[in-house]
């Protein structure tokens, strides 16, 4: 999954766009090692030491990974679980709406 997200973030770096993660690695050090090795540039909430069973993912009922919400600039949920080109198209559409 990372290469796609990475290129999306790179392509839209000058646009009003942010990729925000909810990271569910229980070991922060492991996360930071991997994030560095994989050139992860986006910010993530940390879901705590319980990993996938931490508070944010539990409250949001997340059972499959990754789970994705695309949110417009007004804070409205517009797409769920779009991947790859679908994710790109969703984000482009929402950016277009802002013009």
């Amino acid at each position: 999954m990372f290469p796609h997200e990475r290129s999306l973030v790179k392509r839209l770096k000058d646009k009003p766009f942010a990729l925000i993660g909810v990271n569910t690695d229980p070991d922060k050090k492991y996360y930071s090692d991997e994030a560095e090795a994989n050139s992860i540039s986006w910010r993530s909430f940390w879901n705590g030491p319980k990993g996938t069973f931490g508070p944010i993912a539990i409250k949001w009922g997340v059972r499959s990974w990754p789970t994705i919400y695309v949110i417009d600039h007004k804070g409205v949920i517009r797409f769920k679980n779009v991947r790859g080109e679908e994710m790109d198209a969703a984000v482009d559409q929402l950016l277009e709406e802002m013009r």
Binding site: M1, E5, L8, P16, F17, A18, L19, I20, G21, V22, N23, T24, D25, P26, D27, K28, K29, Y30, Y31, S32, D33, A35, N38, R43, S44, F45, W46, P49, G51, T52, F53, P55, I56, A57, I58, K59, W60, G61, V62, W65, P66, T67, I68, Y69, V70, I71, D72, H73, K74, G75, V76, I77, R78, F79, K80, M87, V91, L94, L95, M98
Partner: protein, 283 residues
Amino acid sequence: MLEYARLPGCSQPVYTPEIMRISLPCALALLFPTLLPAQDVGQRPAASAVAEDLTAELHKQKRESQVARATVRESEAYREARKDDDREKMNALLADAPPPDLLALGNKALEEAAKYQGDDRALLLVWAAVRTRDDGIVTRVIDEVLEHHLDSIAVIPLLENGLNLSRQLGPDKGKVFLSKFAYESKNDYVRAWAMYKIAERMGRGPNASEEEKAKRGEMMALVEELAAGTELGERINAPRFVEERLQIGMDVPEIVGEDTDGIAFKLSDYRGKVVVLDFWGFW
């Protein structure tokens, strides 16, 4: 009361006018603190700090093991074995990259637990069982917590993993394990967790009877009541939260938390931007 009064052997405050009341070991301890066994001098670290250290060590061993496995997988010998589909050789090569020594860490946790009482002790016992899943350790810990720590909030990780542990304990002990917490604990949150785990496996599947389904519903309702406003409450409520708050067209709920560097932020900080919110992990 003065700090000194905490020294072992001093049951009374030390700094009293009747200086003669100080017992001999107490006076010696005051004069020569180094005479005492090391572990009794000063304050022991909090049990939670000991558990955190153990977790950090476990994580470190896991990371090292992962790196070592990756190195083996990239080696020429491994690649060749893989090309030949030689499973035995592949496994033999991977044996050079051992997994974390769970048993040693678990035994260390038990050893530390023995230095504590009450909730602190339970916390470390539970760490040993949940993190190692070793049959011997699990059995020993469950026996001890059932006997002494039924009301301790520290047993909750044990209950969270309750179904797996029940299976591991076998039919007899497994059944007793959850139901004892569910019906005999004086702590409502502990009861709620145990009942939740019992209810979770009831009335499921195509063969579930109406009676079982009804009992499950009844139990879940009780759990919801006991766990209102807690993390367990949120877990039970999650399907409703998805239904009522996370549908397309709805305002996204706020998330307040910390990033992976420990810096506080919230989702609404990004209002005005298009946001992809991505639940993920390297694991």
